[in-house]
């Protein structure tokens, strides 16, 4: 029998800084499940890939996600995780650079960096943790908050329509797009695996629960089990959603793999070609 006093899961023992555990997230937070998705993906990709991987993260609860990994991590400014990651990728094109950002980090303050990274099609993997409010600072309205939700800064209901990240990224020119919730662990793991192997700019949006603020303000239920049940009942796969009318899809989460274009040329390859063309001989 194994002692339960200081027990840790085998994935945590292999890939995480166990002296920092238990981590700082609230009870039932979805970021722990997202950490598990990333680690499971790398368990299948192998140790070689893990050694060639560097993580970059911004500010917010989601910015703490890679800090628990035994890997190279840069914890950067608010909204500026992508510029740091682009610099890292340009300096060492052979690295897998994974950027973990929250919705405020990527869509609100860092929105411009996101669309221009997608336009350049640079080989980063952006894992975007969406929880529909600014949770670190106490539940203020975010660009992803659904219309009508009561938050701390919108006490009479949100009057703004919310962002659809997938449509935005499609228009900006990203070449791999997927969206899952924390309920779909295996599917999200497969998507992350594909995104790491994919050469261009890939975005995996994961809708995560925040029982403390998103549960309280947006969904009116603060038990993580209830929020998981809500994800289970309200998510629709892309193929099924294509057959339904917009009225039926209101308030639902469309999940699945939206786009995969491996043939578009990546930015560092273009840069290499340019160097060959105009470089000194």
């Amino acid at each position: 029998m194994i002692q339960e006093e200081n027990f840790e899961h085998i994935l945590a023992k292999k890939y995480m800084r166990t002296e920092l555990l238990p981590h700082a997230f609230c009870s039932g937070c979805g970021i722990g499940i997202i950490e598990r998705m990333i680690l499971m993906a790398f368990e299948e990709l192998g140790e070689e890939e893990w050694k060639r991987t560097a993580f970059v993260s911004g500010i917010g609860c989601s910015g703490w996600t890679p800090l628990y990994f035994r890997s190279d991590v840069a914890h950067t400014l608010h909204g500026r995780a992508l510029p740091f990651a682009i610099g890292l990728k340009l300096a060492k094109p052979e690295l897998n650079v994974i950027v973990v950002m929250g919705d405020g980090d990527s869509m609100a303050i860092g929105g411009n960096h996101l669309i221009h990274a997608a336009r350049r099609n640079i080989g980063l993997t952006a894992i975007i943790v969406t929880n529909m409010v600014y949770s670190l600072t106490g539940g203020q309205m975010a660009p992803t908050t659904p219309e009508g939700a009561i938050t701390q800064t919108t006490p009479y209901g949100n009057i703004e329509p919310n962002f659809d990240l997938i449509e935005l990224m499609k228009a900006a020119g990203a070449t791999y797009l997927a969206r899952w919730t924390t309920y779909h662990v295996i599917q999200a793991k497969n998507s992350i695996k594909k995104a790491v192997k994919h050469k261009g700019f890939s975005v995996v949006e994961i809708i995560s629960q925040c029982p403390t603020f998103m549960g309280r303000y947006v969904l009116n239920k603060s038990d993580p089990r209830d929020i998981m049940q809500w994800f289970k009942e309200n998510s629709i796969p892309v193929s099924v959603a294509a057959t339904k009318s917009p009225e039926e899809l209101k308030g639902k989460i469309i999940v699945g793999e939206f786009l995969h274009k491996p043939e578009v040329m990546e930015y560092t390859e273009r840069l290499k070609l340019l160097k060959e063309r105009v470089g000194r001989r």
Binding site: E8, I10, K13, S27, R225
Partner: protein, 109 residues
């Protein structure tokens, strides 16, 4: 339908934060909440009906804190102890080496 023989469902005292997502995820009703609190003041779940466990490992999948693991047989138990030896030891040796270098007065490492 007969269930698989499961040796142990280990729930960590150190890591469990009592969100009970494992109980929500379990389709067979294996886990239940313990009455007494542990040293961190948490009523952690325990395997009340371990003979019902089919080792589907959904509780592991949905645990955000890496606190629960289904240990099917001795083979798996051996693997866990092996990982502890090889990975943990290596990491702590590296930390120790770094501390030694810092104590010599090299501040940038």
């Amino acid at each position: 339908m007969s269930a698989a023989r499961v040796r142990q469902i280990a729930v960590s005292d150190k890591l469990c934060k009592a969100c009970y997502l494992c109980i929500w995820a379990c389709p067979w009703g294996v886990l239940e909440i313990k009455e007494e609190r542990n040293w961190r003041g948490i009523k952690k779940p325990y395997a009340a009906r371990i003979e019902q466990c089919r080792a589907c490992k959904l509780c592991e999948l949905y645990c955000p804190d890496f606190a629960i693991q289904v240990i099917v047989d001795e083979e798996e138990e051996r693997k866990i102890l092996e990982v502890e030896e090889s990975y943990e030891r290596k990491w702590f040796d590296r930390l120790k080496k770094r501390d030694e270098i810092i104590s010599k007065g090299v501040w940038w490492l």
